[in-house]
Symmetry: C2
Subunit: 397 residues, 2 copies
């Protein structure tokens, strides 16, 4: 049988990161490639107790039966008020939907808004799976420049005028891959500019709870006056990725359309996973466990940043994030380093990273790389950065 | 904000059944509308023990961490041999993927094979969510006639020649909505005819484990000689729908493409749910609990079929399934009953069903209805059918 795949999928390969994981079976490999939460912080004991208790309790049958596509009602209700910490107020259950991980929101938003050929604006660089998802709907990712303060507002408006996008996708807090956070001014302006032009915004916020320095900045959604912003977040970095629970919130009209999209995908998110997350909150574990986790992430970030300053060649510069899971670095053009080509050699020496090109809408970058610090120990981080630094120093022209 | 939804979603309403659920809040309502497994059979105690045990055990961290898109390795391995009971042999892990409920396979198959405007053949009538999903990819469902033995083979081949479909979707065992099972001959011929014309087949098998009469018939997949058949099944009716776990299997090339589609959707299925299903098998609970469940389903089906014979007007005829969850019935044209229009009145008398039109590719049927017998007790079933019968008798011209 000669398989004739759909136009949307025929040229689609696996995403770079999930492919890299298959190369990481070497037991002594130091991986800066993934975006996994630190394994030792996963709340196995607590989730085990909660799961057992839930199924022994009065909600056992409800949890194992079919549920509403909209999500588990107690969790939706909780999230409606929980998001006030992001400056989002006045939400009710009707504004909230539970999804099977925050990434599902990207899929549902593209499903509901993007026609073949439509532009979708993304930060350059951005979360690589978002680029993939846009392409599965035959949308066209268009990169918007960004800098220290976040999206370049002039470029954003120019690209809106030029490409008439249906959607802007952004990760304003501890962005993947850069680790940067958009300033308050940029957030307000994103809300204003997109509203003015009638462009939907998907604000993705998987990382903001992992903050180890600086102060919270209100979400773009908190400045949304016309209902064009959908906010999504995940419990993958704060509770457990294996449970696959996230949420999105926005105008009820948009939420109702996303629900129809989800009906036709996975019907609803695992009710056991949803009920576990709800009970995790009810027991006060969410903030309690995070307060233990954050110093661990800080120590790892500090170890990586210090090792970079100590070992990496002077042609290399990097971000110093206040939270999240990633440091983003790049070589001066003059160094002549091609991070994509260099990847195999780095793996050969036992250190993995993700090269920059996967994060750009045009896929052309050759000089950046993303370094994750949550998987390795501080000692492995120092050793891994030293190995990388020696390797790159040998390659600099 | 005026929302401009995508072409694929702008006219898409919620699926009929999930909308009906919202009407069923009346506590005394007798519902024959859903397709829920019997609540009292859900293995809450067993799943509770398993979940607690898994998270106390050595795999706790693995279960809460990110997992492979392909699925939980021990479950994939188990399924590769488990499916020999459907006549499917020679499978390895590489042929198997875990999905978030069997319905996700329909979504992924359409994503990977169906372009806008492509025909997708379905049985007339068929599972209504499949019609929805095909439409979210802007495919065009085309109904194939069916009868006692299953798909009408002449009509199947004629429609293949005429519409050049990418895909045939069918539920050969205890079909939703009819409850009928395709004969051995029809299964072999479906495999032969589709292979001859290079048409992919998605064989959906959520119900075959709920067999209370007759003998197993080998799957269409078991007659697949060229790799054009993908088989999918769900643990929703056999373990728990709330966990959202199903699987699909087929040629590794196709499975690899589906995996890329799933990467861009929900990344992977809840690992806790997958590990629970695997441990449920490992403890021998799958067949053990089914052997207790099947007599319960049989009793309910028998109660409904007997009540139909006893009470329903002579203009009504129905199937008498050997398994599954549904009886499908219809009125002679002469009766002048419009089951879609009659629905509100039936609900007013406290009994819900699903009218036939939602299950047909052209949505034009007005004289059939689907009756589910798994949710109500035998007493409720008798009472509900009696109420329905009286109501319809009053309406017959």
């Amino acid at each position: 049988m000669q398989y004739v795949f759909s136009d949307r999928m025929k040229d689609m390969g696996g995403n770079a990161i999930r492919e890299i994981f298959k190369l990481l079976s070497r037991p002594d490999m130091i991986s800066f490639a993934g975006g996994f939460p630190t394994a030792s912080l996963l709340p196995v004991k607590e989730v085990g107790e909660i799961a057992g208790g839930l199924l022994r309790g009065e909600k056992g049958v409800e949890i194992l039966q079919y549920g509403a596509t909209e999500g588990y009602a107690p969790l939706r209700e909780r999230i409606a008020s929980f998001v006030s910490r992001y400056g989002i107020t006045g939400m009710k259950s009707d504004n909230v939907r539970i999804v099977s991980g925050g990434q599902q929101t990207i899929d549902l938003m593209c499903k509901c808004f993007v026609n073949a050929g439509d532009a979708v604006l993304v930060e350059d660089p951005t979360y690589l799976a978002a680029l993939h998802i846009v392409r599965t709907y035959r949308g066209v990712p268009v990169g918007v420049k960004s800098g220290e303060e976040g999206l370049d507002l002039e470029d954003l408006e120019a690209k809106i005028v030029k490409h008439k996008p249906k959607l802007l996708y952004c990760v304003p807090t501890f962005s993947n891959p850069t680790g940067r956070t958009y300033s308050l001014r940029v957030r307000k302006e994103i809300a204003r500019i997109t509203a003015k032009h009638g462009v939907m915004v998907l604000e993705d916020d998987p990382y903001s709870e992992i903050r180890f320095a600086g102060e919270r900045v209100p979400s773009v959604k908190s400045f949304d006056e016309c209902g064009n912003v959908v906010f999504t977040a995940s419990f993958s970095k704060t509770v457990s990725p294996g449970l696959r629970v996230g949420y999105c919130l926005g105008d009820p009209t948009v939420m109702a359309k996303l629900t129809i999209g989800k009906q036709a995908a996975d019907v609803h998110t695992s009710l056991l996973s949803q009920a576990i997350v709800e009970e995790y909150f009810a027991r006060g574990l969410f903030d309690k466990k995070l307060s233990c986790a954050i110093p661990v992430y800080k120590e790892k970030k500090d170890a990586m940043h210090a090792a970079i300053l100590k070992y990496m060649p002077k042609e290399f510069s990097c971000t110093d994030p206040e939270g999240g899971l990633f440091i983003w670095g790049g070589f001066d053009e003059s160094a002549g380093i091609d991070t994509a080509n260099a990847f195999a050699g780095a793996c050969g020496r036992g250190v993995a990273y993700v090269s920059g090109e996967s994060f750009f809408a045009d896929g052309k970058d050759r000089r950046h790389l993303r370094l994750n610090y949550s998987a390795a120990t501080p000692e492995q981080i120092e050793r891994g950065i030293k190995i990388l630094a020696e390797y790159f120093k040998e390659s600099i022209k």
